[in-house]
């Protein structure tokens, strides 16, 4: 757990000598806690304190990044158990798995759609993490080559040391795949391989003690970039393993478990159970998630879930306030009003777009709050609507001045009529889904 300002202060000389250019040792300690200054700026800190501070300032969950040709998937770098305490930082990667006993054509047929898959969700592009190649009695090197011809997404190589070595030889140096995994039996060989190619290594164990013992052995060999691979495959098993690992790392600052986690929902076979396990892994600390079945529908569900969990709860996703033209509106078409919370904006915009009728959409600056929340917080009222209508010159765009309020804020219509005297104010439906019917009949 990162040290607080006062804990750091107690390790400093507490003389307020100002040589670090801060008025007090506490001010310097606060900057250290926020990682905005180097400890070296204080010439008088003791050896012992410096060691303690260095150890405490290392991230409790080590960031591990898989790289390839401009693509990256990062795990780790997390500081809280629950997103609402601050936020989750490293979005997990979904990896589709192929096997080295499958012919190249079958491998590429499976990998291509995954590699090209991208979809827009409230202004964010969602895509898959990469590909996992698993040894199963075939030619591992050839399988990796086949995958590389179909995609340049990051890779996870699963198999025995000799197979992995062949796979690694087919990759260029600036790629960083993940090797899966070191076990009680093969950890020495795997350690050599990971060190030789300088790539992160997954550590597989069936329980926490075995996991810690194996991590310590690998760290003894000088390995630092590790990923933890709990062997459990049931819902409860993976939930318990993932949570215990992350809680020990964050709450107890337990170094040997301070690494990202890889989960294998694909191992269960049945696509529905695989989907459930993948969803649980996204919510509960999985960083690299290996699945065997891919289709756009389930991928969309998983990636939207990931987006919702890994966005910053304090920062509502916002769109820029302004006037948005839908189905290229003309001077006769009406103005609809909504707020700049992206999910609000997209639900209104998508409804209006899908029905084909043209409309102007005035999006007010409501600090990213939805209609009702913004209205309750005084960030969506007649004054703000009128101000933004004038700011974005709404009047110049239309001859027939009609403006439609969201149904939930019908109470504003009177005031809005005062604010915009030469506009006809109408009250629209409460839900965006009723907009098409409303626009056809009323407007």
């Amino acid at each position: 757990m990162a040290l607080t300002g006062i804990q750091i202060y107690k390790l400093l000389p507490q003389t307020n000598c100002k040589e670090c250019e801060f008025p007090t040792c506490l001010a310097f300690a606060m900057k250290l806690a926020a990682k905005q200054v180097e400890l070296s700026k204080c010439p008088y800190v003791s050896e012992e304190s410096a060691a303690k501070l260095a150890e405490a300032s290392a991230p409790p969950v080590r960031p591990i990044t898989l790289k390839s040709n401009g693509h990256e998937v990062q795990g780790g770098n997390e500081v809280v158990l629950f997103r609402h305490n601050k936020k989750f930082f490293s979005q997990p990667g979904l990896f589709i798995r192929v096997y080295d006993d499958q012919p190249a054509s079958e491998i590429q047929a499976k990998v291509m759609p995954v590699s090209e898959y991208v979809v827009d969700y409230v202004g964010m592009d969602l895509s898959m993490g990469g590909v996992a190649v698993q040894e199963r009695g075939g030619d591992f090197g050839a399988a990796v080559k086949a995958v590389r011809e179909a995609t340049d997404l990051p890779l996870i190589l699963i198999g025995s040391p000799p197979a992995l070595k062949k796979g690694l030889e087919n990759l260029n140096e600036n790629e960083t795949p993940l090797l899966v995994s070191a076990t009680e039996e093969n950890w020495e060989e795997m350690a050599e391989l990971a060190k030789e190619f300088d790539v992160p290594l997954a550590v597989e164990a069936g329980n926490i003690d075995a996991m810690v013992a194996l991590v310590e052995k690998l760290e003894g060999k000088g390995l630092k970039n590790l990923v933890l691979a709990p062997k459990q495959r049931t819902m409860l098993g993976t939930l318990t393993a993932n949570t215990t690992i992350r809680r020990m790392a964050l709450k107890e600052n337990f170094r040997q478990l301070g690494f990202p986690i890889i989960n294998f929902p694909g191992d269960v076979g049945d696509p529905d159970r695989e989907l459930a396990l993948a969803m649980q892994a996204i919510g509960k600390y999985g960083s690299f998630i290996v699945i065997d079945h891919f289709d756009p529908a389930t991928a969309y569900a998983l990636l939207v879930l990931r987006a919702n969990i890994y966005t910053d709860p304090q920062e509502p996703i916002q769109v820029t306030p302004g006037i948005y033209e839908i189905n290229n509106p003309g001077p006769e078409d009406p103005f609809l009003v909504t707020t700049n919370f992206s999910i609000t904006y997209f639900s209104v915009a998508n409804e209006v777009e899908s029905m084909g009728l043209p409309a102007w959409l005035l999006v007010t600056d409501s600090e990213g709050m939805s209609v009702l929340t913004a209205w309750a917080a005084g960030k969506f009222d007649a004054e703000i609507i009128a101000k933004d209508a004038k700011r974005f010159d709404a009047a110049d765009k239309v001859t027939k001045k009609r403006i439609v309020l969201p149904g939930h804020t019908a109470v504003l219509s009177g005031e809005l009529e005062e604010e915009l005297p030469d506009w006809e104010v109408k009250v629209g439906p409460k839900e965006a889904v009723d907009l098409p019917a409303f626009m056809k009949e009323v407007l």
Binding site: T4, G5, I6, N16, C25, L26, A27, M30, A33, A34
Partner: protein, 288 residues
Amino acid sequence: MYIIGENIHIISPKVKKALAERDAEFFKKSAIEQVEAGAKAIDLNLGRQKKEWEEVFPWVTKTVQEVVDVPLCIDSTNLEGIEAALKVITKARPIINSTSAEAERLEKVPLMAKKYDAQLIALTLKKEGIPVEADERVNIALEYLIPRAMEVGIDMPDLIIDPLVLTVSGCQEYCPELIEAVRTLKFAGDPPPSISVGLSNVSNSVPEHSRPILNRVYCAMLMGAGLEMMIADPLDEEQNEVIRIIQLRPVGAVSGLCRLRQAPGDAFIGDTAQILDGILDLAAVATA
């Protein structure tokens, strides 16, 4: 413990009625009673008074000033109202309650404090709202409140940082954060700024009968972290008894509750850990 008496507060129906009727005796009696109970200053919370501030603020200030000599703490968000009150202060140095780290208030209020040589309560609060983590509150003091006070020429002891008590009903997990903020702010300057809190906020929206016990316990914990000033109800005798006992125990000894009282008047440096150790010692003795 320097208590700023909180009983003249506009949200209390009796105060609102007395103000509407310009019942001077009510305010005098309340002020006298608070000072006699040990209040070292009197908070005058009259709310915004959007329409009548020009008359109301000076009137209450003069009325109370006639009968007590302690500093008056002008508590409002209406800056003009505060200034109107400050103009009629003739006795002790007043206290302004309050500025925050919000740009506009941080710009104006410290200047007013300097102009009228008043002490200034400064809340660790920015536009985005109240931070919960101790370090965030301390950072607001270090990066906004203290530099601005220095810039305007306010001495550190006259700057009273308030890291904002949150209520246990709904924000229970943040109550320890406030204690840590108080403990940390003791080192926030050279000499350090003063620190104060609105104690009774800890029991906001808690059933009436259990508010006093919550206030007292939190007060003891805050004194353990070194708190020496607070806005509270000076008429709460049990609270005052807790303060008296804590203040009587000498440095390093267990809280007075656990050992025979030593000589009165010993200086005290409180630390929750010491109090806990004391209780453990007591438990050990009891079970030996």
